[in-house]
């Protein structure tokens, strides 16, 4: 039996349409037309102990709602969740002792006081012994460099520093599972790398099962072998990242801006025939290609050497594009 079992999970929010204007406002007071909003629509999956799974989707796709149901915050409208034998919403009090949760968008530390005070509070809440507390802090410090942050009020930390503290805070009680909702949002490259490195160790050395949501495909590439893609509340894909790549040609694109107006003859460049070419207007053209076949450096080199180029922009496939691609194909198969 898997650690996390989710069957036909749905969450429907009731919203009402607000009418505009003064008269509409008055109408709103008396008559409301409710509308069901399916945030999560009959999804099923299971996650085994020790896995590190990436959960991706665009804004409003239902990622956070799923996480909030998995962590016992929201009650499912229908369907079943079982995590390590607990039903999260019903067993919230005992269940939450076994999980760690990080919300990238907001800290769970107390804003105006030193970080260490929040840690002390968590130590009390989870009844962590002095010895365990010290040991864990020591372990986290090795990767996260916490020591010099501990006596700073949270509001004075940078976003990256704060995230490091939030991560440590979520693991002080040695949870079985760690849920992370957008842990790298808003972080710079260095801070992102720091977080990823830490998560990798948490998963590999401490054997914590990790489920993380993200916008950033590179998080997934670096961390997770398995991804789940959700859109409009439905699970579109659940499997290995490599598999997704194989099934969908992941196209990158190079946008060129020319020095002077002109027509580009792609045939003259002697490019691989898999590269798609489009002239957008007199000044700009676009190459769409598969990185696995043509390395981007190679393409850019050829183009820059043979054309009067003013500017080159390289764009990778975004999650939004993958999702769009899945849709345009009418599913993953």
């Amino acid at each position: 039996m898997s650690l996390i079992e989710v069957r036909n999970l749905s969450k429907i929010f009731k919203t009402f349409d607000r009418k505009e204007g003064v008269w509409g406002g008055i109408q709103n007071l008396f008559v409301r037309q409710y509308r069901d909003l399916k945030a999560v629509d009959a999804i099923s999956f299971s996650i085994d102990q020790g896995e590190m799974v990436g959960y991706i989707g665009a804004n409003g796709a239902g990622k956070s709602t799923t996480i909030k149901m998995l962590t016992g915050i929201l009650v499912p409208t229908s369907g079943a969740i079982k995590v390590g034998g607990y039903i999260p919403f019903r067993d919230r009090n005992s269940y939450t002792r076994t999980i760690g949760v990080v919300f990238g968008q907001r800290t769970q530390l107390w804003w105006d006081i030193a970080v260490v005070e929040s840690f002390q509070l968590l130590k009390k809440i989870y009844n962590v012994s002095d010895k365990d507390y010290q040991e864990r802090l020591e372990t986290f410090d090795q990767v996260l460099n916490l020591k010099r942050l501990l006596h700073t009020p949270v509001r004075k930390l940078s976003l990256g520093q704060r995230m490091r503290c939030d991560l440590a805070a979520s693991l002080l009680h040695n949870p079985m599972i760690l849920f992370l909702d957008e842990p790298t949002i808003g972080l710079d490259v260095v801070a992102k790398e720091n977080v990823r490195q830490f998560l990798r160790r948490v998963n590999q050395e401490l054997k914590v099962t990790v489920l993380l949501t993200t916008h950033d495909l590179s998080d997934i590439e670096e961390l997770c072998r398995r991804i789940m893609i959700i859109d409009k509340g439905r699970l579109l894909f659940d499997g290995a990242l490599a598999e997704l790549r194989e099934r969908l040609a992941c196209k990158s694109q190079v946008l060129l801006e020319l020095k002077e107006p002109g027509k580009v003859n792609p045939a003259a460049l002697g490019l691989n025939s898999d590269i798609e070419f489009k002239q957008l207007d007199e000044m700009r053209c676009q190459f769409i290609f598969d990185k696995r076949i043509v390395p981007s450096a190679e393409l850019i080199k050829i183009v820059v050497n043979s054309l009067p180029v003013r500017d080159v922009v390289l764009e990778d496939t975004t999650i939004e594009e993958i999702v769009r691609e899945i849709y345009s194909r009418g599913g993953i198969e």
């Binding site: 929010f13 956070s64 909030k68 962590t71 016992g72 915050i73 929201l74 009650v75 919230r92 009090n93 005992s94 269940y95 939450t96 002792r97 999980i99 949760v101 919300f103 990238g104 968008q105 907001r106 769970q108 107390w110 804003w111 105006d112 006081i113 005070e117 929040s118 002390q120 509070l121 009390k124 809440i125 989870y126 009844n127 009020p153 909702d181 957008e182």
Partner: protein
Amino acid sequence: MTTTLAPYLAFARIAFLQILAYRLRYFTGIITYLVNVTVYYFIWKAIYRGDTVIQGFNFPQMITYVAVGWIIRTFYYNNVDREIANDIQQGHIAGKLTRPVSYQWMQISQAAGESLFRLMMFTVPTGAVILLIYPVQAPRSVSSSGAFLISLLFAFVIFAAINFLIGICAVYLQSVLGLIRAKYFLIELLSGLVIPINFFPDSLVRWSQWLPFQHISYMPLMIYMGKVGGKELASVLLVECAWALALLLAGKWFWHVARLKLIVQGG
């Protein structure tokens, strides 16, 4: 027991520390309370001209009632309702619900930490200044001061439990600010902070006996002044205890129901 209580003591402690970060606000608060007492002093002085006793209160007693009423308000007062509404509307509640603690007791213990801070940094200095300026009478007896302190604890719990109930309304309402304001004025009036309850029309006095609000200010003050004593005292304390428990239970039930309807905004 120690392991179940420990988290809540820690919440009280952290609330204490959190307020310490804003201590400046409290020094201006002392002045506000002083002004309030001064205003009531002159109002009552004008009312008492010529009269020696109104509804069983002579002038020194009335000043004691007003001054002690404001002094104890610095202790029992809290903003639990605002904190909860904020948690719900801003979505901070999500993080708090991932902790293995009761949300209700978390809020009430934080309020207790805040009250402890107020007691030290606010109640005592405000009280000292007011005692220096105005002719405030001491408690009637040792036993009435003991009972007064107990009733103050109940006042705190009743006030916090009512605020918890109001705060949870934010699950259902888009904005609870109006409700919070209405409650604020209702409690100022019905707790007897502004006017002793026996000054109200008879029907309101009767109603008031069946409501919890008079136990926030009026009853503790009547106990302080020795106007409630003997057998009556025991039954008043018992009623206060019952109200505190009933309101806590009501809050627990309301939260249990509201949690099913909870929507977490953002993130």
